[in-house]
Amino acid sequence: MATLALSACATAPETGINDPHEGFNRRMHAFNKGFDQRIVRPVTSPFKNSDGASTDGALVVLGNVGGNLALPGKVVNSLLQGRPGKAAQNAGRFVVNTTLGLGGIHDPAGQEFGLTEVDTDFGETLHVWGAPEGAYLELPLIGPTTERDAVGKVVDWVIDPLDHVLDDNEARVKTVIRLGSKAGERARFGDTIDSILYGSADSYAQARLLYLQHRRYELGMEGGEIDPYDPYEDQ
C-alpha cells in the first residue's frame, strides 16, 4: 500500500477533490459503515450522555491516557518538521502529565502550565517536506484518508518512540488504551457521527468532503479550500 501511495502522490493536484479510486473507496465505506453499525455503535452508545456535553468518567480518563501516550510520536514529528518549539511543548506536556498527571489521567500541563497539545502526525511531516496530498482513500477500519496520510499512518506506527521503551505486554496495554480512547470519542460525538453516517443522503461524499476540507485547513495548505464559488457571482 505504501508503494502504491507514494507512486500516486506525484501527480495529485492540491485543490478540489481527487478521487480516482472512488469505486474501491465506496466499497470500503460500506464496510466501515457496517462495522460501525454492527459493532462500534452498539458498544459505544451506552456511554453516550444525554446532554451530549460529556461522557462517562472512565472514558474521559481513557481518552486522556490515550492522548498522553500519543505525545512522544508527535514530538518526533515536530522535530522532523523543523518545529522545535512545538516539539518542546508536547515533550513538556508529556513529562508533566505522565508524572504530576499520574500517567496522563489528569491534565495539569494544559490547565496549570499552558502546555496544550499540538496535534501533528507523519502525514503533516510529509506535507511539510513537500509531498503532495495524493488521491483520496477510504480504508477499512481507518476511514477517510489520503495517499499521503495513509503513508503517514504507517510511518507513525513504525517510528513511535514509546515502543522502544515498552515491553510486549506494555505495548499491548498501550494498544488497548488507544482503542478505548477511540471508543470514547465515538461515544462522545455519537449523535454527530450518526448524523453523517446514517442521516446523509450520500454519507461517502459527505465524509470525503469534510475530511479533505478539515485536513487541508489543519495543514494550512495554500489554496486547498473547497469553496464552491462566490454564490452571488454565479447567478
Binding site: 465515538r186 448524523s195 465524509a207 475530511y211 469553496d227
Partner: protein, 204 residues
Amino acid sequence: MTLTILTKTSSRRGFLGLMAAGASVVAMPAFSLNTDEARALIQQSLNEVYAVINSGQPPAQMYKAFEAIFARYADVDVIARSALGPAARQVSPQQFAAYKQAFQGYIGRKYGARFREFIGSQVQVTDAKPVKSFYVVTSVAKLNGRAPMQVEWHVSDKSGQSKYFNIVIEGVNMLAAERTEIGAMLAANRGDIAALTSALQQAG
C-alpha cells in the same frame, strides 16, 4: 482509526450545524457594508444564538426558533440556490419557492439538533476584514474540554441587505457541505425537484 477521522470532522460538522441554524445577522438597509458593521452583525447574531441555546426550550421549539432566525438573517435564497447547484436554473419560481421553504426547515432541524454541544460554551468575535467581494468575520469558539475552534462568517450585502451566506468551521464550509448533500438527495430522487422538496420536509 475510523473513529478518529470521523470524530474530528464530525465534531466540527456539529459545530457548523449549530452555528448555521442559530446564526443570525441583523438585517440592515442596503447601505454598503463596512468592516465594523459586519463585525457588529455577527456579534449581535451570536448573542441571539446563545439566547436560544440557553433558553431551555424543548428541542422542537428550538428548531423552530433556529429556523426563524435563519430565515430572517441568513441569505436563505442564495444558500438554497447554491445548494441546489445547476438544477436551480431549470426550476420554476414556484418550485424554487417550495424547495427553499423546505430547505429552510431542514436547516433548522438538522443543525438545531446539534445545539446541545454548545450549552456552556462561548464564542468571541476576533476579527473582520474585506476579502474578495464580501467580508470575513472571524470568531473563536471555546467549548468545554475541547481545543478552541475558529469559525469564519462570510457576510455580504449583495442581496440588498447585510446577511451571511456561508460559515466555515475549522476549514469546513457550509455551502460546500450542503451542495454535496442536496446534490445527493436530488440524485436519489432522480432529479425531481418536487420529490426533493418532500424529502427535505422529512429530512434533518
